[in-house]
């Protein structure tokens, strides 16, 4: 009946959350989720779910984000299916205990490390990739044998509702549940004791999640974001670089992705490189450069040249991808809601930067669309340079020497990803050594997410813990150390009454090699 349905929906409070956790604990205690067969069945069903509902999922994503079909099919469903396949193939290897070495000191003994599920875990997902970010962690939790509660984001309501329906239909509801809702429901869930909490989202809410977890001493994985920079060096194939930047920026949910290039850093000093460029382009850029600087000294011209060529290339490629009226392009997601739309337009309209827009800037409040926008040489203290943009705005920062870009990046909080386009070996090495971020990619953007042998996670403000591939399995497992000893070989020196003689023998036994041990036992060696 409608009345009671409403009543049911209205009350997911602390008591309901507690009852839910208890129910899942019972399921977990029964041992059901630990069996290999159960894990494999769930993963197979998840694959089936993706295959049979691709249209519905794409439609929900279109409703929530105007996400282009290709992005939905490839980046959400495709990547998730891959995750399932990898887990299905590998879980039988992952659950095998790992042998560990033992030393002479504990001879005779043998040791191993057992992976065991943590128990009942909570996954809180985000709105920008609502399917992938809900189900990819779920793959890890299932593969590791846990019972799970999934809390999708209410900011993507069609996806949240579809997830709720599909998981009930395809997965084992006695062990895997979806709770929809907003702050109240999330708070009720966070009051409970979980064996692990996996959160994807922003730093503000992450602090709340970790503080709640602290009450129960619950370990957490926090997948957050940050300002992922792209450093562009000279002497590269600028066209390819530009396309890859566009694909990573506007091609990923229109910049609303945690690993989207947030801003570009490039240098002013490219004279030798510029001489190699085509005469037509150079003369056109010289004309433009004249407008930027009254003193037309050669270096400053050249600096503007390369930058303008970059901008020019960006503009060309953007037009190739999205046409002359990108606001109407079907290949760009919209801004998720009016809150974010307002936030982004505020970044654009700040006095310090509004004059620096060199491309785009158009917006349509009704359809929640903002065109791909490039800003040149924005001040460091502008709003747009002090928060994660998470939208289709791309500032370009200029530095004198390319190495300064590393210091610039390191002076901010550590991002989730950092990108460098360069062919110079030394620069690449320096970049890898000195830039701290969750992950780094050289000469491309965002592709590392598709590589399941690389851990995906942040550091510092961009998060803690990691997942993908076996890292997902590990994130939801406890690695239990097991030591097997026998009764022979009981060294009396372990036991009281203690004497100075025993001190000597003890020194030999711990950390001493076989010779020291023999010496000690024979009464030789140092005291």
């Amino acid at each position: 009946m409608a009345g009671s349905e409403e009543k049911e929906k209205a009350v997911f409070d602390v008591d309901a959350a507690s009852a839910l956790v208890n129910e899942l604990r019972c399921t977990f205690a029964s041992g059901k989720t630990r069996s290999y067969e159960w894990r494999v069945t769930q993963l197979k069903n998840m694959l089936k779910m993706c295959d049979e509902n691709e249209k519905e999922i794409a439609e929900a994503l279109r409703q929530d984000l105007s996400k282009p079909e290709l992005e939905s099919v490839v980046y959400e469903i495709g990547m998730l299916k891959n995750s399932c396949r990898v887990a299905l193939k590998e879980v039988k290897h992952w659950i095998v205990p790992e042998k560990a070495k033992t030393s002479l000191t504990t001879f005779p003994s043998s040791a191993e490390i057992l992976s065991e599920p943590l128990g009942v875990v909570l996954i809180i997902s985000a709105w920008n990739y609502p399917f992938l970010l809900s189900l990819d962690p779920l793959v890890g939790a299932i593969a590791a044998g846990n019972a799970v509660v999934l809390k999708p984001s209410e900011i993507a309501p069609a996806s949240s509702s579809l997830l709720s329906k599909l998981l009930v239909k395809y997965l084992d509801s006695s062990a895997i549940r979806v709770i929809e809702g907003a702050v109240a429901e999330t708070s009720a869930l966070l009051e409970q004791k979980w064996e692990k909490i996996f959160y994807t989202g922003n730093g503000r809410v992450a602090r709340i999640v970790m503080a709640a977890a602290a009450k129960h001493l619950t370990p957490v994985v926090l997948e957050l974001g940050g300002k992922s920079p792209v450093v562009i060096d000279a002497g590269i194939n600028l066209q390819v670089a530009t396309r890859r930047i566009i694909a990573g920026k506007w091609g990923c949910n229109n910049g609303q992705a945690c690993v989207s290039p947030d801003y570009i850093i490039t240098t002013k000093d490219y004279a030798p490189e510029l001489v190699m460029l085509s005469a037509i382009k150079v003369s056109f850029q010289f004309f433009l450069a004249f407008h930027f600087l009254p003193c037309c000294c050669s270096f400053s011209c050249f600096f503007n040249c390369f930058v303008l060529i970059q901008v020019d290339t960006l503009k060309n490629e953007l037009e190739r991808f999205y046409g002359k009226t990108p606001l109407e392009s079907k290949d760009l997601s919209r801004i998720v809601n009016s809150n974010h739309f307002t936030r982004l337009t505020k970044l654009l309209d700040e006095d310090k930067v509004s004059g620096n827009i060199v491309h785009g800037g158009e917006r349509d409040k009704e359809s929640l669309k903002i065109a791909p926008t490039i800003l040149l040489d924005v001040p460091q203290d502008s709003l747009i340079m002090n928060e994660e943009i998470f939208g289709p705005l791309l500032p370009i920062i200029l530095v004198n020497k390319i190495e300064e870009s590393f210091d610039l990046i390191n002076s901010g909080t550590k991002p989730l990803a950092a990108y460098l386009f360069s062919n110079k070996k030394k620069l690449k090495e320096q970049f890898v050594m000195s830039v701290s971020a969750g992950g780094l990619v050289i000469n491309d953007t965002t592709v590392h997410l598709a590589v399941d042998t690389l851990p995906f996670g942040g550091v510092g403000e961009s998060g803690m813990g990691s997942y993908h591939g076996k890292f997902s399995f590990d994130a939801f497992s406890h690695k239990k150390a097991v030591l097997y000893r026998s009764f022979i070989g009981d060294a009396a020196i372990r036991y009281p009454p203690y004497t100075t003689e025993k001190v000597r023998l003890m020194k030999a036994l711990i950390g001493g090699g076989i010779w020291n041990i023999i010496q000690a036992l024979l009464g030789w060696g140092k005291a």
Binding site: L70, A214, L454, V459
Partner: protein, 484 residues
């Protein structure tokens, strides 16, 4: 220690870290060697401090503290360069040419809290990990072992790089000041209560933490399968209870589970061994540590003051407040809801809980918070498997106690309320490192279908590409895959 001093110290550590000095293998190895020298050259002083703070005999001090550190530092010294090397990650053909690796990098400025019961090893063992991983460190020893704390504060600046490793002494107020700062990692050893405080403070700055706590670590005794080895079993139980700091150890045995019919046999064996180890008058034994401090003494005395609990004492029970001495005490079946059976004991009181059948021990343990370690004395392989698969704990040791602590290849850490994160050996290095994923790509060839405008060919291509279906891709490119 005021706020300004703390901030100044941190600023210096940040600067040192930014200079890149701590990242070189040379610096790390120099520090590790210096630490080994520190311990070697000051062994007597360390023994003295441990004796003053806790009444530890040099054998215990060496076995549980000095020896552990020397071994750990040595282990790290010979392997740190290998650990520092990036690990290759396989990249799918789709991205050819490309390579991937995981590169460990230090977090930055880290904070280590040590506890009072193993004031040297629980300070220096994590420090070895932090240094191996290339971090700068603030070490906060426990003020409840003042002589050891003061020793560390004096010795460390003499041997280790004072611009990179600092010792901060003090009590709760200093801890609070330290916790207000933004650290890149916090490593905490101590109680669950303080663990919560530490993690809550860390949450404000999104600082990752490792919490090494405790719990009620049980010893399960399956007499049926081990009766012929009872003497060794009894020695290992006594050794695992009263040996480490008189029961004040996170991995010490908290209580024993045994079948009812064997309880007197067990008690008899334990009493014999206690006499063998500590003599007729344990108060005079130099082989038994003291209770660490008055707080703990009062708490333990309170545990056995409960009349129902006192009535269950079958051995020992005497205390001496002045000497902070509590006799090795055995209790038989104190009430399960008494404090001694619901709180971590952390002292020389050993409850023996009897069961009808030793198999019931599994349910007994599962109905309680997960301990740091489960000790099981049994030769029954089926029972061993059941314990492993039906219970959860930080670790499990079969047929012995305590020794897992010195196994460098075994991760040491808890689960649930006994903690999270782990260390020892390479795990120490890992716990203080961020594993950074690095992927290198070339500019050619280009995967054109990556780029809009979208069409059904590109969709089909990417579908196949992302499932790494190379044959399908080939067919598609050759125009042999029609349907899209």
């Amino acid at each position: 220690m005021d706020q300004i001093k703390v901030e100044k110290g941190m600023a210096e550590l940040k600067e040192t870290f930014s200079s890149g000095k701590t990242r070189s293998a040379v610096w790390r190895k120099t520090q590790l060697r210096a630490l080994i020298e520190l311990v070697h050259e000051n062994e007597e002083e360390i023994f003295k401090a441990l004796h003053q703070d806790l009444g530890k005999h040099p054998v215990e001090a060496y076995r549980d503290e000095v020896g552990v550190i020397l071994k750990s530092a040595d282990y790290s010294l010979s392997r740190v360069e290998k650990w520092m090397a990036p690990k290759k990650g396989h990249i799918p053909l789709l991205f050819f040419p490309a390579n991937g690796e995981v590169m460990p990098e230090p977090f930055g400025v880290v904070l280590i809290f040590a506890s009072w019961n193993f004031p040297i090893s629980l300070a220096l063992d994590p420090l070895i990990g932090a240094i191996s991983a290339g971090n700068t460190v603030v070490l906060k020893p426990s003020d409840m072992s003042p002589k050891c704390s003061s020793f560390l504060a004096n010795a460390i600046p003499k041997y280790l790089d004072p611009k990179a490793i600092k010792v901060v002494e003090g009590g709760a107020d200093v801890c609070e000041q330290l916790l207000q700062q933004k650290w890149d990692k916090i490593f905490f050893t101590g109680s669950q209560r303080i663990g919560r405080v530490v993690m809550t403070a860390a949450a404000k700055h999104l600082t990752p933490v490792t919490l090494e706590m405790g719990g009620k670590s049980p010893a399960i005794l399956d007499v049926t399968s081990t009766s012929s080895n009872m003497k060794v079993v009894a020695k290992r139980i006594v050794g695992g209870k009263w040996g480490p700091c008189c029961g004040q150890a996170c991995i010490g045995i908290d209580y024993v589970l045994v079948e009812d019919e064997h309880s007197s046999f067990l008690i008899g064996s334990l009493r014999r061994i206690i006499r063998e180890f500590y003599g007729e008058n344990p108060e005079e034994s130099i082989s038994l540590s003291r209770i660490g401090n008055k707080n703990n003494f009062d708490r333990l005395s309170r545990l056995i003051k409960d009349p129902l609990v006192a009535a269950s004492i079958v051995h020992g029970g005497s205390t001496d407040e002045e000497k902070l001495f509590i006799e090795p005490t055995i209790l038989l079946n104190p009430p399960l809801d008494s404090e001694i059976m619901t709180e971590e004991i952390f002292g020389p009181l050993l409850p023996i809980i009897t069961l009808n059948n030793i198999q019931e021990s599994i349910e007994f343990m599962n109905s309680r918070p997960k301990p740091l370690v489960i000790y099981a004395f049994t030769k029954d392989e089926t029972f061993k498997k059941q314990i492993l698969t039906h219970t959860s704990s930080g670790g499990v040791v079969f047929n012995d106690t305590m020794v897992q602590f010195i196994c460098d290849d075994l991760p040491f850490g808890g689960v649930g309320h006994s903690g999270f994160g782990r260390y020892h050996g390479k795990y120490s290095f890992d716990t203080f490192s961020h594993e950074k994923a690095v992927m290198h790509r070339g500019f050619y060839p280009e995967i054109e279908p990556r780029y809009p405008p979208w069409n059904s060919f590109k969709l089909q291509f990417l579908r196949l590409a992302y499932s790494f279906n190379y044959l399908g891709l080939l067919l598609l490119l050759l125009g042999l895959k029609k349907k899209y």
